[in-house]
Amino acid sequence: MPLILTEEQTMLKEAADGFLNEHAPIAHLRKLRDSKDADGVSRDLWRAFGEMGFAGVIIPEEHGGSGLGAVEAGVMAEALGRTLTPSPFLGSGVLSATVLKGGSAEQQAAWLPRIAAGEAIVSLAVDEGPKHAPSRIATVAERSGNGFKLNGAKGFVLDGHVADAVIVAALTENGLSLFLVDPKTAGVAIERTVMVDAHNAARVTLTDVEVDADAVIGSVDGGEALLEGALNLGRACAAASLNGAGDQAFQTTMAYLRTRKQFGKLIGEFQALQHRSAHLFSEIEIARAAVMGALTALDSDRPDAALRVSVAKAKAGRVAELAVQEAVQMHGGVGMTDEYDVGLFMKRVRVLNELLGDAGFHQERMARAQGF
């Protein structure tokens, strides 16, 4: 599979960029943030996403989605990275939708069409400590009656405070299982955590939460592979968002360098800044290739897909970090003001970096995979 977009994918990209620039540019994020919107996300926009076919990009056509693949999901994620738009896309449209595609016919029919339509928000609750660590889940689901009783605490749950359902990863007798939990169930406590990037996450506490046996997605004890598949697509999409945010911050900075004068010169004339910019450009190009490498590998089920995902997430993360640092520094004082957008990119990149494993997490996977 070539590492460039097909014509159809390019059209999707243009549609997504066009839609977001018109309906949810950075001003949209600022408005939600500054009005202290309780949800932190616009349900109208999410429904519009459904109408455009964006919300269900990876959901099969029979469930009302577009039936497309990882590359198309990455295209959407990159576009969302450019405009910094808060959206349930990554949490519901990618992570939870992927998990649900491994669920029963009833589960799929109940949720996938509503996600595709932008009507439902479904959150995936995995992490428990401050660092992404799906191999160290401590939340427990004990057999209880003809169902299960869940106990544990989850954090960094995307859109958890506005979720219509929460998928909880918990330990069962001989492995990991995934449970579809109604947030209104007794024993579920959800607290929104206002994040530095003004995007949405929550902490979810489960105290003796009773669920029926049919709340299990996939098989009991068999949730790990399903979860890992969803996480890998989510990581690749987070990497695409990092590329989008990093590149947008870079483009903004290049425009500034071409027009801003200091010491009687355009600052873009200073060779030290030229070389730093050229280096950063190179890094961004490399990161872009890494993300395309991961997305195409997922679409073609390559055996090295998981490794490529780690390459993409680690590389895109470090590069976007450099991009936003250079953006603020090259803008100088105004880059430090809330009024300018570059700081918002810095904040978003920080959150995306932490999400689903930071560069260190993925370097660790690389080292293990290469046997050292």
């Binding site: 992490d127 960094f156 206002v194 200091q262 004082g333 105004v334 003001t337 809330d338 997490f361 660790e364």
Partner: protein
């Protein structure tokens, strides 16, 4: 007993007797600092007592001459005073740009009248100052200054805008640079003047930073009348005064890398992430980055110490301050990137008690200004290339 020992004994006794209990122990919050001024705010009434007592002795500016309200102490006596204050954990009675910045410049460049008028008020914390150098469109480049002072015989009429004026919304007076000769080029034609913030036509607007609320303001001058007696130094040579102050400010900010302080980063990380069986941070990749940073941080602290030793020995090149400013700023930014990684998703919270109002994230974002304020890292590198490396055209 030597004279200095006598001084130490007397100082110790006086501090014991005069420093209220409320004014001992660390200053917990930025808001608990005492800045003085017309609208002074004190965390407790005791803090006002403490300021008044210290101000009366001139010990808020221990080395200034007594004729201008200062303490008249020698360098050695001032050190004794500081060490004795540290001994009882006494809080500084006054935080003051007047003491730190303007005062030294007035002592060097001011008229006798200016010194007599302003210095005692500064010492007693009765007047609070802010600084007006930067302008929109002229960040590190003061030569591009636009704020104009039009000559009207015995006074000027000032028009223009300043930015990054810390605490301008709370200050009583501003010391600032204005263009007095519009035809002169570059650094010439600029003068250093003092302006009462209560003058008609002066207004301020606070700046919100990416890290949240900040002490910084924009300050606007709209047909503001300034008496000529408020010129400091020579007309059109304000640059000399400003350079004198800037050198001072750069060294102050350079120390940031050292002050970063708090718990060692490795311990923050183990607390948050956990350790393996051998007592190593669970995240091996982060561990390597922290260790590398800590090597640099330890080396930088030694470099700060060495620079102090060089100053004492009269061997210091003035541009070394630029090197320390550059290195300290970049190091502190790196340190806070790693602190964010160590804190993980907990450190990403922006509000609420658990995160103490998003302290980790706000501190991290605030450090990004280290390499911009007080001369950008790029300006420091230019200075090093020119003055320490003598590279052509630098």
């Amino acid at each position: 007993m030597t004279e200095l020992e006598t001084f130490r004994a007397e100082t110790r006794a006086w501090l014991e007797a005069n420093c209220p209990a409320e004014c001992r122990g660390p200053v917990e919050n930025e808001e608990d600092r005492v800045w003085g001024g017309r609208n002074a705010v004190y965390p407790t009434p005791a803090h006002k007592v403490w300021l008044d007592r210290m101000g009366a002795k001139g010990w808020t500016a221990p080395e200034w001459p007594t004729e201008y309200g200062g303490g008249g102490l020698s360098r050695e006596q001032a050190k004794v005073l500081h060490s004795e204050m540290r001994r009882i954990d006494a809080q500084p009675p006054l935080a003051s740009f007047g003491v730190w910045m303007l005062g030294p410049a007035l002592l060097a460049f001011g008229t006798e009248a200016q010194k007599k008028h302003f210095l005692p008020e500064i010492v007693r914390g009765e007047i609070r100052w802010c600084q007006g150098y930067s302008e929109p469109g002229a960040g590190s480049d003061l030569a591009g200054l636009q704020t104009r002072a039009e000559d009207r015989g015995d006074h000027w009429i000032v028009n223009g805008q300043k930015v990054w004026t810390s605490y301008a919304d709370k200050a009583d007076w501003i010391f600032c640079l204005v263009r007095t000769d519009p035809d002169a080029s570059k650094h010439l034609g600029i003068s250093f003047v003092l302006i009462d913030m209560a003058t008609k036509g002066v207004s301020t607007r606070p700046i919100t930073l990416i890290s949240g609320k900040s002490p910084f303001c924009e300050t606007f001058f709209d047909d503001v009348r300034v008496e000529k007696e408020n010129l400091v130094g020579t007309l059109n040579r304000g640059w000399d005064v400003a350079k004198y102050l800037l050198a001072h400010e750069r060294t102050m900010i350079g120390a940031i890398g050292e002050l970063g302080g708090g718990r060692p980063l490795g311990q923050v990380a183990t607390g948050s992430i956990g350790m393996d069986d051998e007592g190593r941070l669970e995240d091996g990749m982060l561990r390597a980055r922290i260790a590398e940073m800590e090597i640099d941080a330890a080396a930088f602290r030694l470099a700060m110490e060495r620079a102090g030793d060089q100053v004492k020995a009269g061997q210091a090149h003035p541009a070394i301050a630029s090197m320390l400013k550059y290195y300290g700023s970049e190091l502190n930014k790196r340190r806070h990137e790693l602190l964010m990684a160590a804190g993980g998703s907990d450190a990403l919270e922006w509000e609420g008690e658990r995160s103490r109002g998003g302290k980790s994230a706000r501190d991290w974002l605030r450090t990004k200004a280290n390499s911009i304020e007080g001369g950008t890292s790029e300006v420091q590198l230019n200075i090093i290339a020119k003055h320490l490396l003598q590279l052509p055209g630098a």
